[in-house]
Amino acid sequence: MNLLVIAFKSLRQRALSSSLTALSVALGIMLVVSVLVIKSVVDDTFTQRSVGVSLLVGPRGSDLGNVLSAVYRIGKPSENLPWRVLTEDLPGRAMRLTGVKDPSDIIEWAIPMTMGDVTEEGTFPVVGTTPKYFKVEYASGQKFRKKGELPVNPFDAMIGSRVARENGWDVGSQFSLIHGGADGHVHDEKFTITGVLAPTGTANDGTVFVNIEGFFLISGHEKPPEEAIQRLKDFGFEVSAEQEAAIREATSGHDHASHDDHGHEGHEGHDDHGHEGHDHGHAHHGIPDDLKEVSFILVRTKTSLGSIMLASEINEGMRAQAVNPIQVISKLMKLFVGNTQKLLLFLTGLIVVVAGIGIFVSIYNSMSDRKREIAIMRALGASRVTVFSIILGESLLLCVGGGTLGLLMGHGLVVIAAPLVESQAGIVVNPWSFDAMELVLFPILIGMATLVGFLPGLTAYRTDVADALSD
């Protein structure tokens, strides 16, 4: 009979005590696994796995503020950038880099984003962008999956999975936007949903994407001409007299309705537009580029070095700044989240240690009652090493058995909690994703079992057979 089988049967003899001690280990490991899964989810949510861009170009100000706004849709951009940053400055700065003959040598793609408005129903953040946003990776190695079509027409929209679920929207549904300012004005324009994104576990799930052209066509979303001209100059762009005239010419006769005083945060120039005669219907006429603004430009460079060089070049000039969102979030993680995770892991580790002490106490206390059993085994020919191994085996079974149970319970807990977390927080949790740390748990448990089983094992080893049999 195998020594582990003997150890198991001995444990079974003390079923209640053994089960409780194994359960204490299981609960400890369950907590450790839960913390590891939470850590993994937080890592996934806040690190490179949820950011598919190399650089985030946005207004000067807080790196973190830009990243939170653009990537996590928390807060609004402090100000906007002229459209020329996307069309002229970004390629121009790329061209300045050594060895770059064409912007595409260094830039894989650059996608504009406009932000500020929210949906009337559910107040989900609205992002104006191009259909290309849905064709590129939203996270490293991850592409969007969708139902329906891309928002190729100006008043088309694509919605995230959580928006669809919470608002009960689907392809064909229509919705209105609330202007981003304090007045809470509801825009008259209606957008039609052409596609619904599959859950991604990112902020995209809780975002409404509209075609950027449609975003500009909303009354008050284009820049007033004088403001636009001044802003271009502030950003260091050359605006010739002909261009100024063209800007004024393009806006004259625009049929804007009175959407003044919107106080649109994050859309500088939305306030006090005074535009009249804007066509609220879907008979769109193009908005001149110089009247357009972007909140952020998402840039994917072909190489990491290219990203660093381009960021440096952008940050040297104009009033925009480029940051690597991964670096910003990593800093934040290290500062706050990382330490919290370490603290949680430490505390749950302590629970496992306490459970280990429980095993020690349980086995050690049983030794005085089991001296005779051990003596019988010895009298039957079991060596000292054999009885030592049996006791150590018991400790191992309790630790590893409890640990395995805890692992299953931990993931079971996550399986149960995952739909709840997704519905409440919009965070997609994969209950079957294993953290590499979990592999370390078992060697640790085996080490702990050896430690806590050693002294009781030594007691068994030292048992005097004749004395114990005569007692």
Binding site: M1, E373, R378, A379, L380, S383, R384, L469
Partner: protein
């Protein structure tokens, strides 16, 4: 199997540090397949003698030669292995392990000898002692007589050449006493196993051809 004891001395140290001689046996022999009953007063050293023969306790000096092997010269691990393979031990209080079924208790005897657990042989032994219907019962579910029969089957599991039985009938009623005694003796006869049985009972002793009184060949006072 033959057992030959020469100049065997064993003493214990009392709490006060004084040496208390227990055994002082000049010569004692058991022939192959011989069955011997050992009687003596309580505290006279009967169990100690069995323990020394089995290698459970070490002797102070002397020889205990079983089939040409001097057990006293073996290291502890060697004695353990020798005991597991060559000696069967039946205790007064049966000493079955409560965590294991009747069958498993018998298999345990094989496991510690480093042999492959011979399940058919274990079943056969339990059948031989009339417990084929109680194989999977734990000791607590067995009667006293059944427990002792399991203990006999376990002692014979490794096909030992010497069976040591320390008052195996002391805790059983008269009818079980006869059955168990008969069982032990028959099993030893069938398997050619030498038997050394310790008892207080004159009824039990009277059934043996060779009756040895410990005090006749053990003179501990002479070793001082």
């Amino acid at each position: 199997m033959s057992l030959s004891i020469r100049n065997l001395k064993k003493s214990y140290i009392e709490p006060g540090g004084r040496r208390l001689p227990i055994l002082n046996v000049d010569s004692f022999d058991i022939a192959d397949a011989e069955q011997v009953v050992l009687i003596g007063s309580s505290g006279g050293g009967k169990t100690t003698l069995l323990n020394v023969i089995a290698g459970v306790t070490t002797a102070d000096s002397g020889q205990v030669v079983i089939d040409g092997t001097d057990v006293t010269k073996l290291p502890e691990a060697g004695r353990d292995r020798f005991r597991a393979l060559r000696i069967g031990y039946v205790f007064q209080t049966f000493n079955l392990l409560p965590a294991f079924t009747a069958l498993e208790n018998v298999l345990l005897g094989m496991s510690f000898g480093g042999c492959k657990a011979d399940r058919p042989h274990a079943r056969e032994l339990l059948k031989r002692v009339g417990l084929e219907h109680r194989l999977n019962h734990r000791p607590t579910k067995l009667s006293v007589g059944e427990q002792q029969r399991v203990a006999v089957a376990r002692a014979l599991a490794n096909r030992p050449s010497l069976l040591l039985a320390d008052e195996p009938t002391a805790n059983v009623d008269t009818s079980n006493q006869d059955n168990i005694l008969k069982l032990i003796r028959e099993a030893c006869t069938e398997n050619g196993v030498s038997l050394m049985l310790v008892t207080h009972s004159t009824d039990v002793a009277s059934q043996f051809d060779r009756i040895e009184k410990l005090s006749d060949f053990n003179r501990p006072e002479a070793s001082e």
